[in-house]
Every structure is written in C-alpha cells, then in structure tokens.
Symmetry: C2
Subunit: 314 residues, 2 copies
C-alpha cells in the first residue's frame, strides 16, 4: 500500500496567543504526510526552493516519507505563509502569502507516485489538482480546497470535484460550494457531482462523514492546551486516508466500520497536531500514543443505551 | 420522582427561511416541560396573562405537566417574543421582547413544587432564579442563562451559579462568563465556583459534559430538515434532567453512564424540537420515537476500534 500527496510545502511564520514561530516547516503536503506516515508509505509531491535544506528533508525522512518527487528549484524560494490567530483559534488571519516556486509549478509524477492506491490532492489551485489527478491511477482520490478557490476559480474547482471519490472541506466551505444552508443537503449535492464520500471538517467541533449509506458524526477531542491549529485539517486528512490505505480499503469496498475508524484516527492526529506549533508535536509522536488516544477518544464519546424504567406520569 | 421548572411561559412570533408562526406557545419553561414530561412528573412555575387560554394549558396538560403553579394574572399579558432567523439557524435575531407579567413576577412555590428532587432554573433574571432556588430543597439544581445576564447582572448571576449543582450554557456564553478562551478550562473555572456538572451546549454541533471525573462530548443529531431552532436548548435541558430524575439519579450519585445517556436523550429531544415550529413536533412525539432515535443516534456516532495491521513503512 502506498499513498501520494500533492500540496504545499512551506515555511510558515505563525503567532497565536500561546507563542510564535518564524519560518517553521509547514504546508498541506507536510502536515498530511507526517500524519499518514504512521499508517502507510507516503510519497510527497511538490516544489521547494533552494532555501529548503537538509533539516527540512530530514523531518519528512525521519517518518519514512518518500521525498523523490519533491522538486527542488535552485535559486527559487519556498512557498511562504505568515498568519496570526486571536483567542478564537478557529480563524486564521493571513498576513502574507508568497507563492514563490508554487507560481510556476508543473507537477510531474514519477512512476512510483503514479501507481499508488490512494491520492490526496491538498489545498492548491484546482487546475494543478486536475493535472496531478490525470497522471495518477489511484483507486481512491480525495480533494481538499478552500474558500479562495470557491470564490475565484469556481468552475475549475467544480470540474476537479467531479473527478474525485472523496471531498474533504470545512462545513462552511461545503455550504458555500453548494449554496445549501443545511450540511446534510450540501453533502448530498456534492455526491450528485461525483464523489461517493464527503467529509465535513468542523474545526474544534469534530467532523461528519456522508456516504450513500448515511452519515456519521464525531465530536472533536477536547484539549485544555491548544497551541497552534495550523495544519489540523491536513493532519485529519492524513490520519483518515493513511488509515484507509494502511488497511487496504478500496473506495467501493471501504466498510462503514473502516470509514468510522478512519474518522476517529483523523481526529486523533488532528488533536496531536494542535498541541504544538507546526509539526513539533507530530515529529515526536509514536504509534502507541495514537492508539492510547484513540481508546481515550472512544471512552469520551460513547454512551450505552439501556432500558429506562417507565416514568410515573406516562 | 418529580421535577420543578421555573422559566418563561410565552407567546412567540417566529420567522425562519422555512415559514413563520404568529403568537405560538413557547418559552423556556414550556419547551423544557414538554421534553422532560417523557421521563418524569414535571411541575411548571411561572406567570401568564389573561390572554393565556385553555388551548395553551391543554398542550401542557396533554403531556401530564402539572400547571397548578402557573400563576395567571388577570388583566395582565403573557411574555411575548418576536424573532427571525436567517440561513444561519444558530443565530436568533430578536425583533421585540415584552416582559409583561414577567416584569412583576414574584415566584411562590407550592409545597409540592418545593419538595421535588430536581429543579431547573430556566433562563430568566438571576435574582428571580435565586429566589426560586431558596424556596426549593431539590437535591439536583440546574441553571441556564444567557449573554444578556452575563453582561448586565454579572454579580447576581455569579451568586446564582454558586448556589446550583449544574450549569447549562452555550459554549460561547461559558467562555464569556469565565473569560477563558478554552472550553475545558472555562468548564473547570465554573466548577471552582460551585457546580459539579457543567454542560456546554453547542447548537448544531452537539454538547459537551464536564464533571470532576472528566469530560464527554456528543455531536448534534444531523437533520436534513430543520424548521425552527427556538427552544432547542430548553428541550435539551428537559431531556437531560428529565431522564436523570426519571431514573432517580442523585447529583452526587449520578453515574457516568447515566450522565452520558442523559446527554444523548437531551440531544434527541432537541433534534425533535427543531423539526417543527415551536412545540408542534414535540406535541405529537411518542416515547417509542424517542427510543428509536436514541438507537439511531448511537449508530450514527459510535465507532469500534480494532487492531490495525502494522504498516509496511513502520
């Protein structure tokens, strides 16, 4: 089993009420790769500049991520993002975005990356996502996007959505994309476009899964110490798709139980992501810690029904 | 087992994108009473005007709600609220509030209401909540409030919170009351004030429960047809406390399993509430429908962990 991800590979400068970091390793492909690496072999695709050094590559390789398809543009500069968060950690305020080498990026997948079982199209321009998708024969293709592309390149995004099996968006973006105020109806509208799986990410409130069979909802793992939410959505996607690929689930064959467990693993990986700045926490994470939190998560979200005695008045 | 509730008994005029109703039966004590009536005997306390007629009393009595302590003020007018909702059903826009008989209300509990096991102080002025609380020897007292009282009568509200066992607030209001951005820390700050149980209501996203033992989170029951969210929080509280009283749970003795089931019943009652305008849906509700949705809710929110095969890369 192997999984290919295309997305941003970045330097992020982030300030939250709990601290700040300058030019730390980030980007959707990075957060996704590290999370998925606990479950399967991950091949990362994307461009970096000459300023992307051995230290950055080492973080990915330490988790076994295949970096052959990370294209280093000599003389170019790596994608850069600067943002801050106020007390509402659900909202990132972007202060600066420099596309740099991403502005000229033309994805070229190696044979190994073309033939993985799962492909994740991280949040980049929809036309780039489509060109990657056309090169890859994965049996499960998932796509993330954002309000920017819904507003500025809507037609290209709709075409990209029509070519994938699974759409993963924030709930507000799902409503925006489909112009449906109700989340369940929005998910159904997406399924009418092609995808058979829709995941609505709901920030600290968790996530919801929609398939032809029905829906499944999971709350967020409650934490007392959230330091930096950057990358939480990509870590969720990495845990979700990494788990599915690791157990060899096929898109048509993924059982309901497998998809639910994938949602739980996604939530667990996202919860570790936000405990530290950037990739700090996930870099030191172990599979045992993941399994322990999964058990804890189940304990914190499950209830048992039991016959209730008849009430005196009824 | 019996339960006393004090709160508003109202006529509500509500418009949502899905329709509108003029002067329908509403108010926190009404929504709460109907929801709790499926589990235990409920005694409603509050004032109404001469305009409150047999039709309105009949709705409560049809569900077995004891109305002896509903004080009818001849010549007075019943509390009135007019509001509308846009596509974001999480936000009510109040257009008019007329306190009417509530402006002069001096609660007087009958002996039967003083001696119930559970007391719910619905969202009214904190000083009124305190005067009711002082008259009642319930072993489990819960309180709801709102941003208005946090802003305008903060000291009285803090005193009221210090006198109850359970605080039930929206998550934003919990953060506002405690000035803590993190929900888990906000809940702990409330427990330092006295209550041993804190319930954070999160609208369509569900609810979270905090006790000395830890926390529990439950997503909202996803619906394709939400018509009017008015009263959902009170129906949640009615299902939650009604269930606890129905099984004879004591505040110190309520088991973790009982509290979780109470959260699930609260969510189920809230989900029925929002399917119709005002009390329309709950008026026709049956216990069998509640149990069927509880089973469905469990199915839609539970996952099973299972050992995962070692990934090839780790």
């Amino acid at each position: 089993m192997a999984l290919t991800v295309v997305g941003s590979i970045a330097f992020d400068s982030v300030r939250t009420p709990f601290g700040e970091r300058d030019r730390m390793l980030g980007g959707s492909a990075v957060h996704f790769s590290l999370a998925a690496s606990f479950f399967t072999t991950v091949r990362a695709v994307g461009p970096v500049g000459g300023d992307f050094g051995e230290d950055e590559f080492a973080v990915l390789r330490a988790r076994g991520v295949e970096t052959d398809d990370i294209e280093q543009v000599e003389g170019g500069e790596t994608f850069f993002w600067r943002a801050h968060y106020g007390h509402d950690l659900n909202v990132a305020h972007t202060d600066d975005t420099q596309l740099n080498v991403f502005g000229e990026f033309e994805p070229k997948l190696s044979p190994a990356s073309r033939h993985t079982e799962v492909l994740f199209l991280g949040n980049i321009q929809p036309e780039l996502q489509r060109r990657v998708r056309a090169q890859c024969d994965a049996h499960l293709v998932a796509l993330d996007s954002m309000n920017l592309w819904i507003e500025t390149t809507r037609q290209a995004l709709l075409a990209a959505v029509g070519e994938v099996d699974c759409l993963m968006l924030n709930d507000a973006e799902l409503r925006m994309l489909t112009e449906e105020a109700n989340l369940a109806r929005a998910a159904r509208a997406v399924m009418d476009m092609g995808p058979s799986i829709v995941v609505a990410k709901r920030g600290e409130y968790g996530a919801a899964l929609f398939t032809g069979e029905g829906f499944f909802a999971i709350p967020g793992y409650l934490l007392e110490d959230v330091r930096d939410p950057t990358g939480a959505g990509d870590s969720f996607a990495g845990g979700f798709l990494g788990y599915l690929d690791g157990v060899g689930a096929e898109v048509a064959g993924a059982s309901d139980a497998e998809l639910r467990r994938a949602m739980a693993y996604g939530s667990v990986l996202a919860s570790f992501n936000v405990e530290g700045f950037g990739t700090e926490r996930v870099q030191t994470l172990t599979r045992d810690e993941i399994e322990a939190r999964l058990r804890d998560f189940k304990r914190l979200t499950h209830f048992e029904e039991q016959p209730v005695p008849d009430s005196p008045s009824r």
